[in-house]
Subunit: 217 residues, 2 copies
DNA sequence: ATTATACTTGTTTGCTACAAGCAATTAAAA
DNA sequence: TTTTAATTGCTTGTAGCAAACAAGTATAAT
């Protein structure tokens, strides 16, 4: 008469290894955190609520991540790592303006496909300015990595003769990322205005093509 | 032998009207809030600390602003209103690219003159994304006002024949503000890198001049 | 003197952070 | 294999603190 447990089937049906349990609860809490952050912001999101709405106890989130900042670092890393992977694939064998163009489009797709994750990422990203040392460091590291990627595309473009050697790769790369943040900011405060967001992307493409063609090939 | 009170001279020497007391405590709490926000971020800033480090009681900040969000709205308004005034003066009798150029420079000066106020403003500004309805509305209102100003400059520039009528005033204005935010973001996370910030401003000027000259006069 | 306004103090509620404990899995010993 | 010990995931208990609000005091306005 052995029946499968009815209370939480997916979670407790078979025997689970520690690694499996960990990944399961991590995922559940990630989802819960993203949902809560997007719905009510970080200030009103509580560790208690994350644990409970993930289907666990009041204290699990705190126990796992030690602090709110710890949880938020976890969320940032989880989304950013995924994004860095996607970007790597999308720009494989590309350089110069071509790679930048591909990134803009990929980013746009990413934020259409899983808007909540992306929103949560950038909400946390922007909040990390109001420094909580840990988060700042995590964000800064990701930013540095992105910057070096973009700079690399531009210098490769210069090497391939597609872009004038006069272009200051790092400065333009910085400008690109900076503008992207501006656009993301706009998207966050006005999620509905798809037309406007596309306009911003278009103007960024125009500006980038121009900046990369200055006194060039 | 009547001596001036030694404990808090500036505050209690003569008889103060209610309006004066209010302005005095508002200013003191504004300064305290800015300092605390810049130093430890919004999460660790407490109403208690604001009241006390302004030289008042534990409870004044809460009583005056009702909530943390209320305090932050007050800070945002106080800085933003001042900035809007400055900008109005700086762009008087200017339009088109000229006005935008002036704004970029004025903003740069503003953030060099009172960096803490500006930092606090934008820390709060960016955090308002992770919505606390009140703050979002305050920020959105300021943003709309800025956008309409910039759009106006561009349409005036078109009217004056300085800019091509093909230019989509609002879209370009949006792009401008958006890029400015990106730059501010960069400044916030890397306050030291003056050279880079100036580069970003330069590249923005270049982009704007280009966008405003497209198929134009 | 009375009312209104700035400001303070007392209290409730809820969250974070941490400590201690339970329960399941894994590793080691018999 | 069976038994035992150690590790790890997770839960519960609690201290400390801040937000929010109610009630009170003190100062200025009428």
């Amino acid at each position: 008469m052995q029946q499968p447990c009815l209370t939480s089937p997916a979670k407790s049906l078979p025997r689970k290894s520690h690694a499996e349990r960990l990944e399961l609860s991590d995922s559940a809490m990630f989802d819960a955190a993203v949902k809560l952050i997007v719905e009510q912001g970080t200030a009103k999101t509580t560790l208690k609520a994350v644990g409970e709405s993930a289907g666990y106890s009041r204290g699990l989130a705190g126990s796992r991540f030690n602090s709110k900042a710890g949880l938020y670092c976890f969320v940032i890393r989880r989304v950013a790592d995924y994004w860095l992977d996607v970007m790597k694939k999308e720009t494989r064998n590309k350089s110069g303006y071509e790679a930048i163009h591909a990134t803009i489009d990929a980013h746009y797709q990413f934020s259409k496909k899983t808007p909540d994750s992306v929103r949560a990422l950038y909400i946390l990203w922007f909040e990390s300015i109001g420094l909580d040392s840990d988060m700042r460091d995590v964000v800064a590291a990701i930013h540095r990595r992105r910057l070096s990627d973009v700079t690399e595309w531009i210098t490769q473009g210069i090497g391939a003769g597609k872009i004038s050697p006069d272009v200051e790769a790092r400065a333009v790369a910085q400008y690109f990322l900076t503008s992207m943040f501006g656009i993301v900011y706009q998207w966050l405060i006005d999620p509905g205005q798809e037309r406007e967001i596309e306009n911003l992307h278009d103007n960024l493409k125009i500006s980038m093509r121009y900046l990369l063609s200055k006194s060039g090939a």
